[in-house]
Symmetry: C2
């Protein structure tokens, strides 16, 4: 009894493309928080963000048509905040706080269009760069990644039959549900969707969120995706990321300023946010050194997010640090968010529950685990990021707790290692 | 971009129930062929059909609400042939023949409503009986079975969450596709959907047919379901069934007439049909004896359908019979249709290809293989039939090649065994 809705069909004719990103808030919540922070604290800083495909074997420029990529990026540049989206951001309570976004920021955001992009092909890869005011450029990161991941997926899906597609999604859904069934009923589990950037597609991410809502109930605490949070009436989740210390560090005029930069970031954040938003991301220039040199007010923060290196080791370092500063780790929150999948989540939950409060940000292997579902794993997610590569013309540097995630010019990496006292690091495979 | 079609939604409000059978030709094609044959050859014969649930452990009357069952059956009684369905039956070419259905039959069919039913509960089971003119009553068999199987399924599905349901169907679809992938590319395979009667649901059967179309291409030769054949523009498949010899036999006034009855059936059929419709169903009273005593004109028929007993043994008997009558088995067709699944299909195809023409009617384990997908296998198909139990007040008898499929009063079974010379039979488990 399914009647064809002719109006919808005709309306669809108007699209020249099937847009991948259809809303400015189809973006991670923490990007908006950081955007506001930058808008207030560093309104004039000029930056460049670049796409970096760490998976060299995935030759994106051979898989994806440049014209299609441009159409998708151009479409994103045509988006602006809708009235409903603005109302949602202005009126919603985030982390128990009303008016998270200031009226000045909202007025600016309502008038925002994303700045231009630069796109070239080189050596089978796309060189995709965004330059301009930090607060504007920063919002490109997530949609740019989502567009590239989905266009690569579409290139594979285009070759499949209609029923073959149905079966592909049936298998992916089954796989997803089997994961959720394994997590179901784990006492005290708290888990969020962090999978926007490298998702299979918007619809698939939304499907994953629906699965988490039904399968995990209260153990599912929300999604990083603002648009899905709005649509599904759930919590938008996220705090801050490496780009803040990376840009602050690049702006430093001396080694002394450089050494202080990561703490300046958190000092600005401390002034603007409280409670669950006070989460330390300590690994940009080495977790151990960062914590050893941290000022005392940071020990009062709610928790620490572990985003590189061996996560268990990172959490032990955090626990030791809290203890050494006279804090009770059981009152503190550890958020794991790096390359998680079910096994790792269960293992970490078991190991740390009771010792600290534990929470998980489950990303790519939640929203894009199409591994093993197509020949030659042509739909498996791969490791691609979009990072601030320079600020005011100076290169940025990231060391991370995993040298394979490090970035920046070699001489600058050497300098940063010296300034932050980073010694030997354990190299770990980067899956996604 | 999916807009709500308000008109459809409002139209759906008008249904008090969600009808399981929505068309008089949501029925097996061979029922229509037999109906026409009965309409012409035995227009006045009064019969009774009864539901027989061979799976006593499935206590249908405890799973299914009697009121809901009545609503579904009442809905079927409200159906009549639509103009489009009539045009399809009158205008279509079946088995290469136009005007398969006579104008007299079509006029009668266009005015038909199904006759009343008698429903009682006894001992956890439904006693469901249909009495009246054979040509009318016969059309109840398939919809009655489909309604009971689907209502039992709905009782299980009602307790499941929305996403849990999505996953259930995802798993079923994956299972279906994996079967089809195993059949794909088998040289010379010919296979049809015979799964209307014990299907999971109409929509699921239709989905299975779509999968076969995409997955098997020309190896998929059609469906027994008239409505789906019309909707998907594919061949409607089927010939004749046990009810013809069973009723003819019950009408016999002497042992001599009884012995002749199965051949009288085929003699009538021979007059009315040719080509691929001349398929012998030899097992009603034992395949071996039936073939040994068969008149010579039967050896000219196109093929034999094997519907009980060990299928390989049945096919060997058929091959020996053709050889003994001077026929070349390689010119003959053997149709396997009893409890098939992929393993059996592959095995039989391998064994008989090159020796005879082989074709498969894949039934319940195509359209209702939900085994292993729910706890306690609550959606697994079970063995339920709806059979002619009497004609003109006399009980019918079926012996079959598997004594577990035999039916009728004990003294009559003894008499039939004597008349048809049936000795020891091998008992085999009846799955579906």
């Amino acid at each position: 009894m399914h009647a064809l809705d002719i109006a919808t069909r005709v309306w669809n004719h108007k699209w020249k493309i099937d847009p991948i990103v259809r809303s400015l808030i189809d973006n991670d919540f923490y990007k908006l928080l950081m955007c506001q922070s930058v808008f207030h604290n560093k309104p004039d800083t000029q930056v460049a963000f670049s796409l970096i495909n760490r998976s060299k074997s995935v030759r994106l420029a051979e898989l994806i048509d440049e014209g299609e990529l441009r159409e998708q990026l151009d479409h994103i540049r045509s988006l602006s905040l809708t009235r409903g989206e603005s109302t949602f951001l202005r009126g919603n309570t985030f982390y128990g706080k009303r008016q998270m976004f200031s009226p000045e920021f909202m007025t600016w955001f309502e008038n925002l269009r994303l700045p231009p992009y630069h796109l070239e092909k080189r050596d089978g890869q796309f060189e995709l760069t965004f330059e301009g005011t930090w607060a504007e450029v920063t919002l490109w990161e997530i949609p740019a990644l989502a567009v590239l991941m989905e266009l690569r997926g579409r290139a594979v899906l285009d070759r499949m039959g209609r029923f073959e597609l149905q079966v592909l999604y049936a298998r992916a859904l089954t796989k997803l549900w089997e994961k959720i069934e394994r997590l179901r009923g784990i006492e005290g589990l708290r888990i969020a969707d962090f999978g926007t950037r490298r998702r299979h597609s918007y619809l698939w991410q939304d499907r994953c969120v629906q699965a988490m809502i039904e399968g995990l109930g209260n153990a599912f605490v929300g999604t990083s995706n603002c648009h899905i949070a709005m649509k599904r009436d759930i919590e938008a989740i996220g705090t801050n990321a490496h780009e803040l210390p990376m840009v602050y560090a690049a702006l430093a005029d001396s080694d002394a300023e450089l050494a202080r930069a990561p703490y300046d970031v958190l000092s600005d954040w401390h002034r603007d946010h409280d409670g669950n938003l006070r989460i330390i991301l300590p690994d940009t220039y080495g977790t151990k050194g960062f914590l050893d040199r941290a000022p005392d007010w940071l020990t009062q923060w709610t928790g620490i997010r572990i985003d590189s290196g061996d996560p268990a080791k990172g959490a032990e370092i955090a626990i030791d640090w809290w203890k050494s500063r006279g804090e009770d780790p059981r009152e503190k929150l550890v958020i794991f968010s790096d390359g998680l999948d079910v096994e790792k989540i269960i293992e970490l939950h078991k190991r740390f529950t009771g010792r600290v409060k534990v929470s998980f940000g489950w990303g790519t292997l939640l929203t894009n685990d199409f591994r093993g579902l197509t020949p030659e794993d042509s739909l498996a997610p791969f490791s691609m990021v979009c990072k601030a590569v320079s600020a005011e013309g100076r290169p940025t540097v990231k060391l991370s707790d995993n040298p394979r995630k490090a970035m920046g010019p070699e001489d600058e990496i050497t300098r940063y290692k010296r300034v932050f006292g980073v010694g030997e690091q354990e190299a770990m495979e980067v899956v996604v």
